[in-house]
Symmetry: C2
Subunit: 345 residues, 2 copies
């Protein structure tokens, strides 16, 4: 097993590319504001991490992850009235817009002549001429054809009302180092919320990396023959997160395997090692139709049938419904424990 990690080790061994300080301040103020309003706050991590093989990076190791699960989960946490910090890989899927990842938006947009007098209260004027033209041109408006964009009306209503509510804070990472620094910063930001904070660690984080000191500066030359790579193990962040950084929070990790036979054993092993609250266990081939929520006392299987799938039911809705009730019980449990301790004194 990889050794646990101290804050010092993260600072020294992993040089981030992202602007960690700016994001750290944003997360802190977001958590403080929502905490003071009594909101629960969840940190969702989403997408894969990039592990450079060269310091001026041409090549990198990556993890399979579109970020679909994290992006979908964010929507259901928002529906359950959680404030959400969405810590996601640059260009991975994003809440709401995830539904149109396979769409070329230019196919859905059309130019229409803008009617001369057609006022749109509360909306910026959308008339404009062809760029670069010097003489008068017919003005256009740009309209989306909804037949290319399934469910767009509902999605736009949800998206804009979410934006107005201020309940979502997006933060981006790209490399493994960025991720480690931002997770530490998020833990510090959420720790003051105690059991009202949840960590939902869905990102596919690399288990291996090359320390900066052992990395070649320049692009590895293929003329030097076959490539030998030796990678160190990435420190496990879950251990200090649960023990030191946010000890009262409700922490959920993910376990993805390709081999079904070892999945549950590995999930239980993670719980025993890190002593957090739940593992969402899943297998690569059935990611979207089946997961098991593993806790110390139970294994709860959640599935989406073909019929449900055809009706648009997503497994993330069931995962978030399960975890938010567990979170409620967890908060009440800590409250009762606190009360009985107080009474005993």
């Amino acid at each position: 097993m990889a050794e646990p990690v101290s804050e010092e080790r993260i600072q020294h061994e992993f040089a981030p590319q992202a602007e960690v300080e700016v994001a750290a301040r944003a997360m802190e103020s977001f958590a403080r504001s929502h905490g003071s309003q009594g909101h629960r706050v969840v940190l969702i991590t989403s997408g894969g991490t990039k592990v450079p093989l060269e310091s001026r990076t041409v090549r990198f190791l990556d993890n399979f992850s579109s970020g679909r699960r994290g992006a979908a989960s964010a929507e259901y946490f928002l529906k359950a009235e959680y404030a959400v910090i969405f810590l996601h890989r640059h260009r991975s899927m994003y809440p709401y817009s995830r539904r149109y990842t396979a769409v070329n938006w230019l196919d859905a947009l059309h130019l229409l002549p803008a009617p001369a007098e057609h006022s749109r209260p509360g909306h910026a004027p959308a008339e404009l001429s062809t760029a670069g033209s010097t003489h008068a041109q017919p003005a256009f408006r740009v309209e989306a054809d909804p037949s290319h964009l399934q469910g767009i009306v509902q999605v736009l209503q949800d998206y804009h009302s979410m934006k107005d509510s201020g309940m979502l804070l997006p933060v981006e990472f790209n490399t493994l180092s960025d991720y480690l620094h931002l997770l530490l910063a998020a833990a510090k930001a959420l720790s003051p919320l105690g059991s009202n904070a949840m960590f939902y660690l869905a990102a596919a984080v690399s288990d291996f990396y090359i320390p900066a000191s052992e990395m070649p500066e320049h692009k590895i030359q293929s003329s030097s023959g076959p490539l030998q790579i030796t990678m160190k193990m990435v420190p496990k962040m879950l251990s200090p997160l649960v023990k030191d950084w946010a000890p009262k929070a409700f922490v959920v990790s993910f376990k993805l395997e390709t081999d079904t036979s070892i999945l549950l054993e590995r999930a239980h092993k993670a719980l025993a090692t890190y002593r957090h609250q739940a593992v969402v266990a899943n297998v690569l081939d059935t990611l979207r139709s089946s997961v098991v929520i593993v806790t110390n006392t139970a294994e709860t299987k959640l599935t989406v049938s073909k019929e449900e799938d055809s009706l648009g039911v997503e497994i993330e809705e069931k995962i978030i419904s399960d975890l938010t009730s567990r979170h409620t019980n967890f908060i009440e449990g800590q409250f009762n424990e606190l009360n009985s301790t107080t009474q005993a004194i």
Copy 2:
């Protein structure tokens, strides 16, 4: 150096995930149709290749490449009236829409009440109600706010006129194996066009891979300790492409380095080895402002000044302008050579 590759070796060692046969037929018919109209046809490869480390892939090696250069180049080749086969990495940048990669389209779209009587000739009706509602709701149309989408009118005009013209055939790859198979298929499709075909090989193709026979089936377990990876060298496709697959075509390869001092030497070495027509040499830090076109007889430096950049001038415009004139000379050269050979007989 890696050994050259035979078609048999590609068939045996690299199992594609893409539907190569379907794409091969589409490329063949595209090339035949445009060839018969006397069009020049360019194959552009674009984006990085994914090299799996496990056969049920969780982890993979990747190459830095957004696909920006390939996508931008496609637009300028289309402007120069080339028919374009755009062989690109899944979800890498795409011609025209590339300008909005950093935009969340949902921010640019707004719901507006659809006026009751407002006919739009030649356009599908855009009115619709909120999804799932059972009683009458106000109908909406979806309009894009052009202030979020710089230059959208010109881009939509170019995009839709390109689509109507049938001059672009997009083909996707994801893994290195897909890429190798599709490049072979493209070469076969373009070979009958002789010197009217150009290969513009801008994709960042991995130099290393793990043969399927040496790959673990399941996700590599991090509990087994540090990771040792040994990768074989990917066979160089340029050699059989130039010699056997499309021997009369105009072939352009790319050389990306991080170390300026070895760039030109490596470009000349590639020309001497593969005996193709040109290398576009560039350095990672200055990709978008400077390249050198290296041929057997000349080094031509192309640059975009800061002033040009602020006016929207892109280096791909200069690269394509340079290469298309070289292509014209190349075609005329082959024609003259043919003529003088005929006269000599």
